[in-house]
Symmetry: none
Subunit: 245 residues, 2 copies
DNA sequence: GAGTGGTCTAGACCACATG
DNA sequence: ATGTGGTCTAGACCACTCA
């Protein structure tokens, strides 16, 4: 009773188990909330050891298809619905991809304790040290975007000694720090007088603001707010209905 | 040599091994291309079984941090792109999730041949019939966003007879039509006089505009432009590192 | 108390790539 | 031939959570 679906590339047993469960979920046969068979049941079904089943199900947890709870069992998670994969470009490469000359300027650098608001937004102790950076990115000599960033120095101690006058903090962090989760917030605001002047646009002009927070496990790494002139920039995301393999 | 970063939550041994390797990579001590210690070496270092090391390194493969080759060893990969998973909300459910009463109004409905611009944007013949819809979504009695939509009637003939006075075209299409690819374009614009009046905001106020095109195979299905008041709306996207397996 | 998943062990055989 | 990772076993103990 092992072939409920089409043949996929299943070179190993745990892959076959994983694919079988995936097929049950994707076909709707096991809807969200459904309790999938216990490990010991699948152990009998596939005539294998528990470790093999455990590996297959652990991969499905990492993919977000199921969640597992001791004593209760393993359950199909709520839909991934439709999801978009939005590539986040390094600003330097983004500018260069437009065929423009990239330039970067560090406007402000300050090591300070996290304030009350920062602590709340990032789940930090109020006195944890953070590195505050403000910089301007230029494309072809024209201001391209403004970057305001906080880095959690406790999680990334190397940042305190990094030379951000030559390399942007975004580029630096991309190279140096792994991450496991992040959150984007994309909004539109009218430029205040200071930002309008810095970007060379009219006061009150629409700007696209991308606010990103990044974690590694439970540790907060960085928070960045990037402001683009609305008439010169757009985010583009490519979509697929659901993830596979 | 593992104290280069802050203490993370390491409740299990394979997590500690995984975090140690991650720290070596993120600190630059193990640059891209570097061969990390063999499994049997780490087995001795951590005084554990090979399965435990194997699990930790397998997770790093799934996260795209390392790649492994038989006989050769395991190597630090080049920095991987960040990708975001952006949930696409149905506007009706989006409003209801805010705890507000949803209301929908169809402002315009017109069947016409695709114009020159539409044909270019949607890869349609210039005389292919398209259904043009304009509608307003309300949340709690207040305008929530404006929707301008074109539907390719050739690809979705049922749309010609659908009653969009009761159900929004977005909701209808989500239920009726499968799709295989889509593209988002997110930008910020200043409201023109007409949109400002329709949304009840000041003329020139910043708005968030989401432009989406959807395909099924090679067929264009629909193109929609949704305009939100910038001060009342933001897109939020959850992220994970890109996987490769 | 009982049953689940989480983790770990100390082996084993195989596939693969190099010498 | 050698040494690596890929996979799997048949146990084991623990943590958690329900009854």
């Amino acid at each position: 009773m092992r072939g409920t679906g089409a043949d996929l590339q299943e070179k190993s047993l745990h892959e076959r188990i994983r694919n079988d469960v995936e097929r049950h979920i994707m076909s709707g046969e096991w809807p969200p909330g459904y309790r999938i068979p216990f490990e010991h049941e699948m152990t009998r079904q596939y005539a294998c050891s528990r470790m093999t089943v455990n590996k297959a199900l652990g991969e499905l947890v990492q993919r977000g298809l199921i969640e597992r709870r001791r004593r209760l069992g393993s359950f199909v998670r709520q839909p991934h619905a439709q999801s978009a994969v939005l590539e986040i470009h390094d600003i330097e490469r983004e500018v260069q991809a437009l065929g423009l000359v990239y330039r970067y300027r560090l406007d402000k650098r300050r090591l300070r304790p996290a304030g009350k608001d920062d602590g709340a937004a990032m789940a930090l102790a109020a006195d944890a040290p953070v590195l505050e950076l403000t910089c301007t990115h230029f494309a072809g000599g024209v201001p391209f975007c403004l970057e305001e960033r906080l880095i959690n120095v406790t999680a990334v101690p190397e940042a305190e000694f990094a030379d951000f006058s030559q390399i942007g903090p975004g580029t630096w962090l991309l190279k140096m720090v792994p991450w496991s989760a992040a959150e984007h917030r994309i909004s539109a605001v009218s430029a205040d007088r200071k930002n309008a002047a810095a970007l060379g646009i009219g006061s009150g002009a629409a700007c696209l603001v991308i606010d990103r927070r990044t974690w590694h496990g439970t540790d907060y790494i960085t928070r960045v707010s990037v402001t683009y002139p609305g008439d010169r920039h757009a985010l583009v995301a490519q979509f697929s209905p659901s993830q596979s393999s």
